[in-house]
Chain length 327, copies 2
């Protein structure tokens, strides 16, 4: 496979408008180009391209969809960063921190439009419907996530949690890339990949949440446990709330309900300690391992019929590192 | 022509998701349906439908595009209201005032996706490209508008102003509806309608800005001249800045540069008085009249070849009321 990241960025570069005689409009174009060139890992696009290759599709048929998936990721990140009022994205200030919320919101919308142009222009049968469903699901997941924080909902079950991560993460991270790769290859999508994608996507999200706690815990003094500061509902948190004493539970809820700036380092540390006492982090890690194992088995099963087994191995490796990554 | 508003809303009702077992997701669906059912005038869709009819197209071929234009208008309004932090929309609180900014932003994105579904499903040749261009232009206009306020730019010419209103208003209000109506009728679009649309759209925006000042001026004591409070660049303001003495100009810039809440009623009244002294409002009204006359003449010329002259008359009346409305 050619240098994937380079090919995708070249494609995007050819699609997005470059410059404009009016300085303000030239600035809009620069804003649209900012996130894509900050160097994401492009895991989702790699999965898509490898899937197309595994089923004997042509690289150039999958490339537009891979680029569209990157455009999707980038406009969503611009809007997510506004919704969460994030400070940073890929090691630099979030777009709305640089240009203000109104201009960043508008730039996200402009980028969204180019994503549809690329999907439309790809000519791949079924790709349009797949993007519609993917974005619709992701918006539903985002709604769940934001509404739970806003409504101070803590009475959530692990079933609720899995509904969230399937919608918010698994569809666009694994299910849609696998599906789009098959469409690009002109192969009828196999439903086994949907279940594989949901499992692997959920495992990825749990791992990501665990890393957020552990990494921050090590970097004590910096910004510890950003997810706890944001009040994000994670599997560890739900486990803690389910198994803690009434007193501990109430204090956790009390702390998480406070605005971000009102939370002290000690409060957040105390929640982390309670999670350690009740082994909430090992519980979550174990759940992620189980899901990763199941998802990889399903993926392997689905890939048995793939003509190009070298590409199939690449998919399995990518999925494995996605679902079991330790840093 | 059938009851246009009813037909469009029925179409939209059939497209948008209705309800969901998860209450938060059902809430997302309600948010997506909120603005469309607040009863907009649907002028743009009416133009589109009448244009199709004038060129012997079928109502059912134009209806999906009219519905998509309404969906466009509504998701853009959700995002615009966030960008401008508007209080109200169509007599009710703006969506982000009801649900908070993050959920409203996300609901706007979800609605945006359904717009593309409808455009894609319309099967009208060229419609996809027309929507791409329309949204791209509108985003450029929004960028100009927001950037000028943010950068405290006052050294703008009337040429700058017309670039703004063409991009921000004229394309999606007149140019695109006329163009899309012809596409739905399967007729090759006539470039005379582009110039007509730019003139009529600019006349509409100037009238709208004038009404904002005059209406508020009469309702003294309420919120006078919302556009002045927002620091919006209007033709009247540019005329004032161009013709005022250095002292007056500096004071106007000083007042407009202050945050909205820091502006006093007296300050805003004073600016209005300066506009009256220099006859900035009659100047703008005159410009709008000239543009309306020129635009209507071009529109009439383009419509001469239309087979259905009854529909052509309806278009001319709609355009006339749009560009010359007094309330």
């Amino acid at each position: 496979m050619p240098d994937v990241a380079k090919a995708i960025l070249e494609f995007i570069d050819g699609v997005l408008p470059k410059t404009h005689a009016t300085p303000e409009i030239a600035e809009l174009y620069r804003m649209m180009r900012d996130y894509p060139w900050r160097g994401g890992k492009m895991i989702r696009s790699r999965l898509l391209l490898a899937m197309c290759e595994a089923f004997s599709g042509r690289f150039q048929d999958a490339l537009p969809l891979a680029a569209a998936l990157e455009l999707f990721q980038n406009w969503v990140l611009i809007h997510d960063d506004i919704e969460d009022d994030s400070d940073e994205r890929r090691g630099k200030p979030a777009l709305h921190r640089i240009h203000g919320m109104p201009l960043a919101l508008n730039a996200g919308d402009a980028l969204h439009v180019y994503m549809w142009q690329v999907v439309h222009g790809s000519g791949v049968q079924g790709a349009f419907a797949a993007f519609l469903e993917m974005i619709h699901r992701t918006a539903e997941g985002q709604q769940l996530d934001l509404a739970w924080v806003e409504q101070k909902r803590f009475d959530l079950t692990t079933e609720d949690y899995f509904q969230l991560v399937h919608l918010k993460t698994a569809y666009y991270t694994v299910v849609a890339p696998l599906h789009l790769g098959m469409l690009a290859a002109g192969v009828k999508p196999n439903p086994v990949f949907v279940q594989a994608g949901l499992d692997l996507g959920a495992a990825f999200q749990i791992r990501d949440d665990v890393l957020n706690l552990i990494a921050d815990f090590k970097e004590y003094g910096k910004e510890i446990a950003g997810d706890l500061l944001e009040g994000k509902r994670t599997l560890m948190l739900l486990h803690l709330l389910e198994h803690a004493s009434e007193t501990v539970k109430n204090r956790v809820i009390d702390i998480l309900g406070q605005p971000r700036t009102a939370k002290s380092v000690e409060d957040v540390q105390w929640i982390l300690q309670q999670m350690q006492v009740l082994e909430s982090i090992p519980f979550a890690q174990n759940q992620a391992d189980l899901l990763a194992t199941r998802g990889l088995a399903l993926l392997e099963k689905g890939l048995q019929s793939a003509p190009n087994q070298q590409a199939a191995q690449l998919i399995l490796e990518t999925a494995r590192s996605l679902a079991t990554r330790v840093a």
